[in-house]
Symmetry: C2
Subunit: 378 residues, 2 copies
């Protein structure tokens, strides 16, 4: 079993990715999974369906990494060239695998005759072990040769995700000595990235032995993230320090969300139900509220209106949150107005400002509204 | 001006990408823009905030491509290292640019003192021309040296997109001899990808001289895309053929959207105003309707309720579209129920089915509702 943190490279293969026709969500999914397993992902490369480019990328990646994971290009058509590219990089010949061929034929038996092109999916190089794909026609490959492992997975996200957890993870755990990454997150709202950095001072550069710290700007505020491959108990000290230094800008840690914290605050003030009315946001607030699982308060519905002048009533509730997002000024800022009306609690009109444009601007306005509620009732 | 199709490489920089914490939508956006401009994007690489890795990637990319576009790592914090990495690859020194520094100070004047860390954003190498960022603190760079162009843009999508269109595109058009790609799109709803392929027959494989054809499954249906770098008039014939072969599954071409076509149909039937009520969708329908620019009908608001039992009234309108998305069955399908009530038009409850999960499932339900309206009133 190789020692130390294994280094990985991901290859996302498909001309449609390089034409911008699809967003490569597979890479983000696998990156998160690798981080959690304690694999150090060094780079992701997106490549076209070009045999020479794929072969060169595999050769280079096998030299540089302990683990190479490739998705896409395992389909039956002439532009699915991942098998050919890896075979060239390994200097091995592709040959039909009778077992794979019979599985493919069985798979198609229910639908009618198998198109001849699908036979390409039964090709294998000698050093590849086939990884079964229970929900698609493309088997994966596991190749362990010359001190590096190469994994091929189909590009269809549902097939890729299932084969990753069922087939690849157990093999990785058996093959590498993995030290999973432990992560703690402090979530803030109301401060910019650099203001968070200044408030933290030395803690950011020296969070402790074997601990990394990073700051990330998100629509729901600036997140501060501590991680370690050592004992997770070590993260408690920098976490507590950060919470102290950032004061009431901190709304939660780890899995806590702004909406959950805000709704919990309203529930603590005697509200059993909540409704919302918003304008200018394309429904960003009601989308967030309807997806928030708050055990102690019921979200009974939300209304989107073009502007305040429209006469329409929100569903009856103990508290009705009202959000108006005004148009952007010349500096790219927008005013957000938040108020709560209702039988149980009320909040006078409160103004705040956000940056951004498009859907991001609308989501930020919704989070700013939740932050206003959190500060008033949290 | 260099001859031929320029070759490009994209670098997406940020440890958060390699940890799977964000999906790299910037790469897909820029890839589509480059394809439209007639630039041949050869590869995309995602890199961590690691100075040596960034420097090596820039050096390699400048050797291999005519154009290198990098996003991310231009922030003010210690882990924003894109400037440093490119400076190392170029063998140039970073120095403060007094003009950039004074712009930054002006930008912050409205908010209070500028954090010292932001001064890093005023650093520049001698060969870099600064690209103004009107809505953020990170200026971009344009570096034209040794026969290759390097462009640095911030990772914040709204800033990146605006600087791309305002600053980068005009410079690319002046610098390279570009042959833009002309694209025509036929949009369908109600047929799967392979059914569209079968209906098109030979047209898909042989759409005409110098023309490419592709089929793409989207939340708003299956799109058929014809493209050419030659005379765009050539695309009219395959487009008309496809519209004929796909019949009433075609709801529009090019910039037409399902919502626009549906709303136009309602307007043609005498509706001057529209409202919506939905459940199970997190507001997907009202989000689409509120963003749809329909000149001849006013969208007066939408209501999201947890289920039909909630007593709440939609805003008064000539037509009220009602959408209920039911839970997923064992085969991953969900039932969608659509009806229209109102003074001017009505549509009895109509059932349809969609596939998918998560936010995609909700958006598909909203598009299925628009398709039902389009078929009834279009």
């Amino acid at each position: 079993m190789p020692d130390g943190t294994p280094r990985a490279i991901l290859l996302s293969i498909g001309t449609e990715i390089l034409l911008g026709e699809i967003v490569d969500t597979n890479a983000a999914h696998l990156a998160a999974k690798l981080a959690g397993l304690g694999v150090d992902l060094r780079t992701v490369r997106q490549l076209p369906d070009d045999r020479a480019a794929i072969a060169a990328a595999f050769a280079e990646a096998r030299d540089a990494a302990d683990l190479v994971v490739a998705t896409g290009g395992l389909g039956p058509t002439h532009d699915d060239l991942t098998r050919e590219g890896l075979a060239a990089a390994l200097g091995e010949e592709l040959a039909p695998d009778p077992a794979l061929e019979s599985e493919l034929r069985q798979r198609f038996a229910a639908y009618g005759p198998m198109p001849a092109s699908n036979l390409r999916q039964a090709l294998r190089v000698p050093s590849a072990e086939a990884l079964p794909n229970p929900i698609g026609s493309a088997p994966g490959w596991w190749v362990d040769r010359d001190g590096s492992v190469v994994v091929l997975l189909p590009g269809v996200p549902s097939e890729m995700r299932r084969m990753w957890s069922d087939q690849v993870v157990p093999r990785l755990e058996a093959h590498f000595a993995l030290s999973p990454l432990h992560v703690r997150t402090v979530k803030t709202f109301g401060l910019g990235e650099s203001a968070v950095g200044e408030a933290l001072g030395e803690l950011l550069g020296r969070p402790g032995d074997g601990i990394s710290a990073g700051i990330y700007a998100r629509d729901d505020g600036v997140h501060l993230r501590f991680s370690t491959r050592a004992d997770p108990a070590r993260l408690a000290f920098p976490l507590a320090q950060a919470v102290r230094l950032l004061g009431d800008h901190v709304y939660g840690t780890d899995e806590e969300t702004l909406a959950k914290v805000a709704l919990h605050g309203l529930a603590q003030h005697g509200c059993g139900s909540l409704a919302s009315v918003e304008s200018g946001t394309a429904g960003a607030l009601l989308a967030i509220l309807s997806e928030c699982q708050a055990p102690d308060i019921a979200y009974v519905g939300g209304l989107l209106v073009p502007d305040r002048s429209v006469a329409a009533a929100a569903p009856t509730a103990d508290a009705v949150v009202r959000l108006d997002l005004k148009s952007q000024d010349d500096h790219g800022r927008s005013r957000v107005e938040v108020a709560i009306e209702g039988g149980r609690v009320s909040l006078p009109l409160t103004r705040t400002r956000i940056h951004g444009s498009g859907p991001q601007r609308q989501r930020r306005a919704a989070f700013a509204a939740m932050d206003t509620v959190r500060r008033a009732f949290g």
